[in-house]
C-alpha cells in the first residue's frame, strides 16, 4: 500500500510539472469546465422559470444535484480522464507491454498514472459550487446526511470510472478506435438528470444494471431523505458489483491482448 501511495505521489509531481509546460491549455481547460458548470446552471434556471419542481426536487435541491454532478465530474476529469483517453491507443498500438512488466498492478498504473493537474483548479471550483449550493439551502441539513452524501459522491466518482472502463475494455477484442466508449458516454447522459424524472423500468434500470443514478442523483436523494442502511447497502452493492465485474473483465481483456499490432 505504501509503495502505491509513493508511486501516486510521483505521478502527481510529474503531472503538475508537465501541466506547467502547456499553460494556454491549462487556462482553456479551466475555462471549458467553468463554462460547462455555467451552462448547466443556466439550463436548470431556465427550466425552473416554468416549473416549481423537477423529479420531486425544488430549485434549491436541483442546484445541489447540479453541484454534485460537477464535483463527481471534476474528480473523474482530474484523476481518470487522461488515462482513459490514452487506454485505447496503448492497447491498439501494442504499447501495453511496457505496463504489464512493471511490478505494480497494470490496472492501477494505467488508470491513475496521468493526473490532470490542469483540471485540478476545476475540482476546487466544483467543491466551491457544491459548498455554496449546500450553504444556501434554506433548511438545516443533518451532519450525518451530509457525511453520507460525501461518501456516496466519492463512490459516484468511482462508479463513473468503472462504467467508463467497462465500455472501454471491449477494445481488446474490437480493435477499433475507442471500443464502446461513445456508447458509455451516451448512456452516462441518463445520470445527468435527477433520477426521479424517470419512471417504470427505466428508473429501475438506472438503479441496477445501468447504475448511473448513483453518480450524483441518488447521493442527493440520500442527502434530502436521510441516510438509511438500506440505501447505503444498495449503493455499496451496486458500485462494488460494478467494480468487481470491471476487474474481471479487465483480466479477460489482458488474456486476449496480443501485444504489438493487436
Amino acid at each position: 500500500m505504501t509503495r502505491y501511495l509513493r508511486l501516486y505521489a510521483s505521478f502527481l509531481r510529474f503531472s503538475f510539472s508537465r501541466s506547467l509546460e502547456f499553460r494556454l491549455d491549462f487556462f482553456f481547460r479551466v475555462g471549458m469546465d467553468a463554462l460547462w458548470y455555467a451552462v448547466h446552471l443556466v439550463f436548470f434556471g431556465v427550466l425552473f422559470q416554468h416549473t416549481g419542481a423537477l423529479g420531486g426536487w425544488n430549485l434549491d435541491q436541483v442546484l445541489v444535484f447540479a453541484a454534485a454532478l460537477f464535483f463527481v465530474d471534476a474528480i473523474y476529469m482530474t484523476v481518470f480522464s487522461n488515462n482513459m483517453w490514452m487506454l485505447p491507443i496503448l492497447i491498439n498500438r501494442g504499447d501495453l507491454d511496457y505496463y504489464l512488466v512493471r511490478p505494480v498492478s497494470p490496472l492501477f498504473f494505467l488508470s491513475v498514472r496521468d493526473f490532470a493537474a490542469n483540471s485540478f483548479l476545476n475540482l476546487v471550483l466544483a467543491v466551491s459550487i457544491l459548498a455554496w449550493a449546500l450553504l444556501r439551502y434554506p433548511e438545516p441539513l443533518p451532519l450525518l446526511s451530509v457525511a453520507a452524501f460525501g461518501v456516496l459522491l466519492l463512490l459516484g466518482a468511482l462508479l463513473t470510472y468503472t462504467m467508463g472502463m467497462l465500455f472501454t475494455i471491449p477494445i481488446f477484442w474490437l480493435h477499433s478506435k475507442s471500443g464502446l466508449r461513445e456508447v458509455g458516454w451516451s448512456l452516462g447522459r441518463l445520470g445527468a438528470r435527477p433520477h426521479r424524472i424517470y419512471t417504470g423500468w427505466t428508473r429501475t434500470l438506472l438503479l441496477t444494471l445501468l447504475p448511473y443514478a448513483f453518480v450524483a442523483s441518488y447521493p442527493v436523494y440520500v442527502l434530502f431523505n436521510g441516510p438509511s442502511w438500506q440505501a447505503l447497502a444498495h449503493t455499496a452493492a451496486v458500485v462494488g458489483g460494478a467494480f468487481t465485474l470491471m476487474v474481471l473483465f479487465w483480466r479477460q481483456g489482458l488474456r486476449a491482448y496480443s501485444s504489438a499490432s493487436s
Partner: protein
C-alpha cells in the same frame, strides 16, 4: 480545387467513416435512444409537475417533436469525429503536405467534412423513417414538402456555419498546445444558445431577442422550426441571409487566422 478532386476526397472520407460499421451503428442507435429518452422523461416530468399544458409555445407532444427534429438535424449540422482534423494536422506537422498540394487547404478539409456527413445522412433518413412510422407527430408540426425543402437549405447553411466556426477554432492550434477544450466549450455554448438543450422560446422573453441576434440559433432552433413549419417563407429567407452573413464573417476570421498562423508555422509539429 477541381470539382472532381473535391468529390474524390469526399468519397474517400465517407468510406473511411463507415469502416467500423458495427460500432458506428451501435453508437448511433444508443445515442439516439438515450437522447430521446432523456428529453421525453425530462419534459414529461416538467409538464406533470408544473401542471401546465403549454411551455414555450409547445405542448408535451410538440416539445418531444421539436427535440426529435433537433436531435436528427443535429447529426447533419455537426458532423462528428472530425473536429480534431485541422488541429491534428498542425500539431503533427501533417499540414506540410497540404501546403504543397495543388489544392487549397480549406476546400480540401471541407470536402472531407462533407464526406463525413454521408453516414450522418444515412442515419438521419433511417431514424426519420422510424419516427414517422412509430411516433405520433402532431398534425400541425408534420413537415410538408415545402417545409422539408426550406429546411434542407437551412440545414446546409447551418452545416457550413458550424464548420466555419469549428475551422476558426481549430486554427488556434497554431498558437495553443491543445484546442480540444475550445472545441468542447464551443459545443456547450452552441447547444445551450442554439436551441439543442432547450428551445429558444423557453428562455425568458427578455432574453430571446439577444439570443436571436447571435449566430447559434441557426445551428438547431432555426432549421428545426423551419422543418416543423413554424417559420414563414419570408422569415425563412431573412434568416438564411443573416446566417450566410455570419458565414461570411466567420470565413473572413478563418482566413485571417490562417494567414497569420501559416506565417509562423514551423512545419515540425509539437
Amino acid at each position: 480545387m477541381s470539382p472532381r478532386l473535391f468529390l474524390q476526397v469526399l468519397s474517400l472520407e465517407a468510406r473511411n467513416r463507415l469502416s467500423y460499421r458495427a460500432e458506428f451503428w451501435l453508437n448511433a442507435l444508443v445515442g439516439f435512444g438515450v437522447e430521446f429518452a432523456v428529453v421525453y422523461f425530462l419534459w414529461s416530468s416538467m409538464f406533470r409537475e408544473s401542471g401546465k399544458q403549454e411551455i414555450g409555445g409547445f405542448d408535451l407532444q410538440g416539445m418531444v417533436t421539436y427535440y426529435l427534429a433537433v436531435i436528427l438535424l443535429g447529426k447533419l449540422v455537426r458532423t462528428q469525429r472530425f473536429e480534431g482534423g485541422v488541429s491534428t494536422d498542425i500539431y503533427e506537422g501533417g499540414l506540410n503536405r497540404y501546403l504543397v498540394f495543388p489544392a487549397g487547404y480549406f476546400p480540401f478539409k471541407y470536402a472531407q467534412h462533407l464526406g463525413g456527413l454521408v453516414p450522418a445522412v444515412v442515419q438521419f433518413l433511417l431514424f426519420a423513417l422510424v419516427v414517422a412510422f412509430f411516433l405520433d407527430v402532431p398534425p400541425e408540426l408534420r413537415p410538408s414538402p415545402t417545409s422539408a425543402l426550406m429546411a434542407l437549405a437551412a440545414i446546409a447553411v447551418a452545416n457550413l456555419l458550424y464548420y466555419l466556426l469549428d475551422y476558426a477554432i481549430q486554427l488556434v492550434a497554431f498558437w495553443a498546445d491543445n484546442v480540444w477544450s475550445l472545441d468542447v466549450a464551443k459545443w456547450f455554448v452552441a447547444s445551450l444558445l442554439g436551441g439543442f438543450m432547450v428551445p429558444l422560446s423557453v428562455f425568458p422573453a427578455w432574453l430571446v431577442p439577444w439570443l436571436e441576434a447571435l449566430p447559434f440559433r441557426f445551428f438547431f432552433d432555426f432549421p428545426a422550426r423551419v422543418l416543423l413549419g413554424q417559420i414563414e417563407p419570408a422569415e425563412w429567407a431573412r434568416g438564411l441571409v443573416v446566417a450566410l452573413a455570419w458565414c461570411g464573417v466567420l470565413a473572413l476570421v478563418g482566413r485571417g487566422v490562417w494567414r497569420r498562423g501559416v506565417e509562423q508555422y514551423a512545419g515540425v509539429g509539437i
